[in-house]
Symmetry: none
Subunit: 422 residues, 2 copies
């Protein structure tokens, strides 16, 4: 019997997974299953079809973790080495399983074929391992205990791996967990840098580390917003959820309107929900973002209910013709200026006859910057009901696409903040 399983590593085997065209996706499926059972994946690896490397990577994982899951390398050919490398590391012989040979032979016969002799290799079992027949393919799964550690060998093709993993998770892994579950929650913030947010969170980190069980936090910059990922390992899911609910409330108290969402909802979905709940429609006037703000807002299903139109006024002429921006304002202040952004927001709102207008103008680069208005300067205006009007100038770092991304995120966030005041 193994110890209670807490820490897992996943090893994907196959040289094709070390190139640039394919990636290991099996580990995501396995991770999701392990998370549900409260088993934490502490590392994962990809290794090619090379005996020494595979043996070394497996040996290292086995030394660190309670559970090692290997996928791939169980095929019939010379470069399918997982069985051999694992057997070598744990010092056990491989033996041909007669029933498995028969099962593989029958599988070929059912398809009107003769089993090639190399497929016998798929019936080699690590001494002491249990086999689980593979309904989708020829290679069975194998599992065994080694010095209190649990080792699973699964085939690589996802349609074969998935049902086998699900069965082993249910029958072999679940009974050996501590009964703990990992509960997760993601909060989204805007209007702060990652390090500002991190500093503001310091007192909460200390408090979270002291809860029983402790709350683990990870902070991530995500395209102009910040994701705060919280998780807790709890024997009773309700306890974990209550702890995370308290934590979310603490974050909300510190961040106020900088808190975008309590369940990780994307900014565009939050803005959409606010527009919908207030029964408001929006129209957008974009210049440097080139339509990206409207495109993101319309990524949300049902957004045609509250997005009336957008105008991408790339040229000054378009700003005058489509948005009624007075030519004099452009001449006096330049196209990238607070008066122009405000006029764009007011113009689109009036033209579209909707309740909320947004104006974005800026310099995405790489050309067009000046000392006074460097590349990355973006002005965002929101014009709403009850005389709400917000206009502000930002300076974003990065290349053209990054400036567009940050500008679009910030435009959605400014719109969100105006809607919050209604």
């Amino acid at each position: 019997m193994t110890t209670r399983l807490r820490r897992a590593e996943i090893i994907a085997v196959g040289s094709e997974l070390l190139g640039i065209d394919r990636t290991d996706t099996n580990s995501l499926f396995i991770t999701a299953g392990l998370q549900e059972l409260g088993v934490e994946v502490v590392a994962k690896a990809v290794v090619g079809d090379a005996f020494d490397d595979l043996a070394a990577v497996f040996r290292d994982a086995l030394a660190r973790s309670d559970l090692v899951v290997l996928t791939g390398g169980l095929g019939p050919t010379d470069d399918d080495l997982t069985r051999n490398a694992v057997a070598h590391v744990v010092g056990r012989p491989l033996q041909e399983d007669a029933a498995t040979v028969e099962r593989i032979r029958e599988r070929f016969v059912r398809r009107g074929m003769t089993m090639p002799d190399i497929n016998r290799r798929q019936a080699l079992v690590i001494d002491g391992a249990e086999l689980v027949a593979n309904a989708q393919g020829t290679a069975p799964a194998q599992w065994f205990d080694a010095d209190g550690r649990l080792v699973l060998l699964l085939p690589g093709p996802p349609r074969e791996m998935r049902p086998l993993f699900e069965r082993l998770a249910r029958e072999i892994i679940a009974p050996r967990t501590a009964g703990d579950r990992i509960i997760r929650r993601t909060l989204r913030l805007a209007g702060r840098t990652e390090s500002q947010a991190d500093q503001m969170l310091q007192p909460l980190y200390a408090r979270w580390a002291a809860t029983e069980p402790p709350i683990v936090a990870t902070i991530l910059a995500a395209g102009g917003t910040i994701e705060l990922l919280l998780h807790v390992r709890a024997g009773r899911p309700a306890l974990g959820e209550a702890l995370l609910e308290d934590a979310a409330r603490d974050v909300a108290a510190i961040f106020g309107s900088d808190l975008v969402s309590l369940e990780g909802e994307r900014l565009e979905a939050v803005v959409g929900a606010l527009l919908r709940s207030h029964g408001l429609r929006a129209a957008l006037a974009e210049s440097c973002t080139g339509g990206l703000v409207t495109s993101r807002l319309t990524d949300v299903a049902g957004s045609s209910d509250y997005v009336e139109r957008g105008v991408i006024a790339y040229s000054n002429r378009a700003k005058v013709e489509l948005l009624d921006v007075p030519e004099g304002i452009i001449a006096d202040h330049g196209a990238v200026s607070e008066p122009v952004a405000s006029a764009m927001a007011r113009g689109i709102r009036a033209r579209a006859r909707v309740e909320v207008g947004v104006g974005v103008t800026g310099i995405a680069g790489p050309g067009g910057g000046s000392a006074a208005k460097p590349v990355g300067t973006v002005v965002i205006a929101v014009d709403g009901p009850d005389s709400r009007h917000d206009v502000r100038t930002f300076l974003f770092a990065g290349g053209r696409e990054l400036v567009k991304l940050f500008a679009s995120t910030t435009a959605l966030d400014r719109l969100r903040r105006v809607l919050l005041t209604l």
Copy 2:
């Protein structure tokens, strides 16, 4: 000095990369760069923000390989531990680099902010390591030799990591490799499915396998276009380049106008170059794509020269008011129809007084579909000079964002094909 570099491992650091929402993509970029230099990636790993695990994974990799590249965990917060874990494993102290502190401080000052104290952590250098300044962010890269092995520490955000890796590949890795180079070329196709393209390429695959050295081809679907990746390993780069030039010419002969670019240029850049070379300006009228077509076209630097405006006519009212689409056409044919798409393209072209107009209307879903016009139905029209007019109905599979992506790619491709006839 290190030994000749042959075997590399890549370690991506970050607990978020061990969940189910994100995956390590940095290793693909790094792998491509190493392949070009003839350095084989023998394993890669993902490890969380946990000191002991990170140290163990790094120690094991260092024992196996000539080159270890770590990405991530160089941020300013408590859970950024790469510097510390690597220093611990190689038994060297960390020291604060005054010039780097100053550089980080100035970066904050330029954005009108004060450097938070925790950012000093990003200036900690492993004793004996060289620093490479990060133009896109605060954390510099570090590299050092350890007992004949080369170790690189790179920041995690791809836009920061990529230029730093490229520089280190050129200046530090390339001089230490054995001499063979992998020469690559990417061709881009549109208007064909991946399997159609694959079938058309069969005769070329056979020819490429027989060249000396052989040309290796990989075909990849990429957001509505197809990338054909060719590479060859050659001692003399000129030989490899000549082989790939012949191969590209063969592909062009088979695919004609379905060939978008011979050097992997993106569709939006190809369309932009065609507009520029013909001295034409474009205006775009979008409905279901919500601004995505215009946003992609304006991702290209200098696009303000040829993109005059865009209109996102989400509502029927906007189609009438902004694009002069006759209400009767909408009533007779529906908003998603060839007559409406054509009227949108003609309307935006006339209103903007430019040479080329594009109209896109469709049903992105999940709602709004019918038996006659299911979700994914998209109509694209291009109206150009010399009475060029192209209108066509497409049916795209997938969810809302995928339909938007395919529709925007196809709109850019239809525009490209009209421009090719001029």
